[in-house]
């Protein structure tokens, strides 16, 4: 039960309470740039969810097995080179570089794979894939997972692959929800008389501010959920 509770809390937390866009401000560029039409926004949301789960899987694997202090693979290699050494090997200084290359290469692979095997899907959100490499949401997901591996106070609190993936997928879904809602509002805004200086990015940010206020209403939901699930 405790396990289910923690999974539910992570997913609700990432998707709604601490929404990637409206609470952590990551992925603002596509949120402002690609939210003109609902279909496009939805495609972008799907693409981000897709890539973020792959990047989360790869970055968790690298962080857990290679770069965290005392990681198995690194310790094993270190033990081969320096038998009998007691030092804890810590490669976490390489984390950021590894993440950005993991993201860039997984975007490339996803693009090739989709083009070859799922042309319909590729048509739907293939055009967004190159844009995703510089989308902060993906890197932010990797960084949060890193924080829960290297920053965990005890080994029991370290996130396993399951929690990392749940976090990444719900974060992506949260992004999709926010950008699709925004696109829906902007389609209606086209019919409105927006003051000239605010057209485009200005009004989008103002609307996002109001959406962020609405999402603040979710604050505290996790506490209630936890109490409900653990009882």
């Amino acid at each position: 039960m405790e396990y289910i509770a923690s999974i539910v809390l992570i997913s609700v937390g990432a998707a709604l309470i601490n929404n990637f866009v409206l609470h952590y401000f990551v992925g603002i560029c596509p949120f402002v740039g690609v939210s003109r039409r609902v279909e496009m926004a939805f495609g972008m949301g799907c693409a981000v969810t897709f890539v973020i789960s792959i990047a989360a899987f790869l970055s968790w694997t690298f962080t857990y097995f290679v770069t965290r202090p005392g990681a198995p693979v690194t310790s094993w290699i270190w033990g081969m080179v320096n038998p009998g050494s007691e030092a804890v090997v810590d490669l976490s200084i390489l984390n950021y570089i590894i993440y950005i290359f993991v993201i860039a290469s997984s975007v490339q692979f996803v693009e090739m794979y989709l083009r070859k095997f799922f042309p319909a899907l590729f048509k739907a959100f293939g055009i967004f894939l190159p844009l995703i490499t510089t989308n902060c949401a993906i890197l932010f997901g990797c960084l949060e997972i890193m924080k829960h591996i290297t920053g965990a106070s005890s080994p029991a609190e370290m996130w396993g692959l399951d929690k990392a993936l749940v976090f990444a997928v719900s974060g992506g879904i949260g992004f999709a929800i926010a950008i699709t809602m925004m696109a829906g509002i902007r389609e209606e805004l086209d019919l409105c008389d927006v003051p000239k200086p605010l057209e485009g990015a200005g009004i989008t940010l103002l609307v996002a501010g109001i959406m962020a206020m609405a999402f603040m209403g979710f604050t505290g939901v996790d506490r209630g959920l936890e109490a409900l699930l653990l009882k």
Binding site: C29, K196, L198
Partner: protein, 206 residues
Amino acid sequence: MPSKGPTATERFINGIIPENPLYRNLLGLCPALAVTNGMKPALTMAGATAFVLICANVITSLLRNVLKPHLRILVFTLTIATFVTIADRFLQAFMYDMSKILGPYVPLIIVNCMIISRCEVCASKQSVGVAFSDAVGVSLGFCLGLASIATVREILGSGTWLELRVLPEAWPNWGIMVLPPGAFLTLGLLLGGWNWYNARREAKAS
């Protein structure tokens, strides 16, 4: 030597106001919203970004003649990621509290489109001096952008500026300004004000 493209001074001036990365080009919005609830984090962030941008621009410009076109994005990313790691470690070593406040937004400088676009547009084509002054100009512009948002948010939200009290104690702090919605509203309105001012100036000029 015939110089192609703008000169160093032009690049420098351009970066600050006419081509302001934040208001004009809408680049680097994530840090502009996330770390501007106070002046101190905003200025630290601007400093870290400036360090990365200047180093990346100079290195790219030094390498511009041996750079293979299809490998350039790879080289840019590698350079930026390395300098971001260095900046992050420096913050952790000398400004530990600040690095905790900035949290993931320091590593997120890697995907700040502003830096890679300066490498692409300016540094990979022009000499080191021009690239350097371009980076300084753009960094100043970015710093001004962050500072303007942080000024509004900190004064209204906490009644202080750079942690010095500017509004009387009786001022009811607008809690919303230091929360996420305040960031969106402030940037949206400032952007509107910027556009309005520019439109009016152009109308006067013509």
